[in-house]
Symmetry: C2
Subunit: 232 residues, 2 copies
DNA sequence: CATCTGTCTATACATTTGTATATTATTGTC
DNA sequence: GACAATAATATACAAATGTATAGACAGATG
């Protein structure tokens, strides 16, 4: 936004990103005082209900992390790369959460209810990360949007196999499971996004709405699968 | 973002916004060479798939409109106010579109299909305005978000009365019509938002997906209304 | 005509941004 | 300890932003 040809400017002495998650056994040269993860955490502290990732500036993040602006380039090519790292982390976090929900669900209670409630609990607790996944998929660079879209499709895939598995277990049918998974995912995410602006007291209410919505979709797909026709 | 106390700084000689849409019969003083609408149009020219409203700068819009930066203050207090004017326009545009779809639908064809197809057609044709409504509800100021949310609830309300009316006409029942309307609205909007990044050739495909999704929800609510119970 | 009133422009300033260049600091290896 | 390699900083600069101040312009009214 500043320089006209900003997209072509690379960092001065860029190298490998300091052994991201690998142990970095041989440190030749000065020891890194800050890591990629620290920068991601600093960025995370800055985002909020009125602060989107795409509005963060490089200098702002560096300031929050307590390093000189130029040191940022040691770890990321630009803010866009940081944003994608943020999405990765958010996606990983979300998928483990839902994995938990899935395990918890097998212990007798309703799958839908337990999954939705886990989702909403995490929304309250871990706001920042989910913020990014839920709300910022539509703005930002193409790479950023692609990363969000990929996380969503991971989610959809897992949900789809779950739906098919559950249908078999309950001896019911599912019409177009892929589409059902997509509908549920998008709906839950959209509802979750708006829920973030609401006070926490209303989260339970939103969760109930979500549950009814999901059940309507599931009943719909089962009914269509049995009767084989759809209404106009 | 610039000044620390920027939110308190008002425009130098601010007044009434030059008679927004009213005719401005009595022009005392110099004739206005530019209108609010011109600025809104200029802003609209600048937004795109990778350019959100909240990322536009005051100077940028003024440049596009061909006026001096300071002249902007004659019409809007700040960019936030412009953004809300944009939403108003987008919302009005969308509601007239759907009104058309509703009329068209009564002429025999499927209500769902005709509404969804009208929606998607407009998505292709009038991208910019719908962009704002579909994608930017989650970022930006509180006022901005509230404006988007209001447009969504207008939409929901109209859909809800339609659902009830149609159910009566077809002699079927609807379980929780308000929730059904909300689910359909959010789902269509979320799907529409992702569709905007896709090439136009795939829009028809997305429309078909939307139609199936909506029908699943409708069949679901009808089935639940009849049987009176929901699955786990 | 002069005057008043509202619209628009010109200039200016402090601030922030991204990043280029050069320098310092700290580590492992010989 | 000298050396090389790497991390981090300091300084600097051009661009851009929001906006304060002051003046120029144009039309209505006296």
């Amino acid at each position: 936004m500043m320089r006209i040809s900003s997209s072509t400017g690379l960092s001065p002495r860029m190298k490998a990103p300091s052994g991201a998650s690998t142990g970095t056994v041989t440190t030749l040269g000065r020891r890194a005082v800050i890591s990629r993860e620290d920068l991601v955490a600093a960025a995370l502290k800055l985002v909020g209900p009125n602060r989107s990732v795409s509005s963060l500036s490089l200098r702002e993040v560096a300031r929050e992390a307590g390093i000189a602006p130029n040191s940022f380039y040691r770890h990321f090519r630009d803010m866009d790369e940081l944003a994608i790292a943020l999405i990765d982390q958010a996606g990983r976090s979300l998928r483990t959460i839902i994995g938990e929900a899935r395990h918890r669900a097998t212990e007798g209670r309703s799958v839908v209810r337990s999954s939705v409630e886990t989702f909403m609990e995490q929304l309250s607790a871990d706001e920042k990360l989910l913020h990014i996944l839920l709300r910022e998929g539509n703005v930002g660079s193409d790479a950023f949007k692609r990363a969000v879209e990929q996380e969503l499709s991971f989610f959809e895939d897992e949900l789809r196999v779950d739906l098919v598995r559950l249908a078999k277990a309950h001896n019911t049918a599912v019409y177009e499971p892929a589409l059902v998974a997509k509908a549920i995912t998008r709906l839950i995410f959209a509802m979750g996004a708006t829920a973030m602006d609401l006070p926490h007291e209303r989260h339970a209410e939103i969760a109930e709405q979500m549950i009814v919505m999901v059940r309507m979709i599931i009943v719909g797909t089962q009914t269509i699968a049995v009767h084989g026709s759809m209404p106009d």
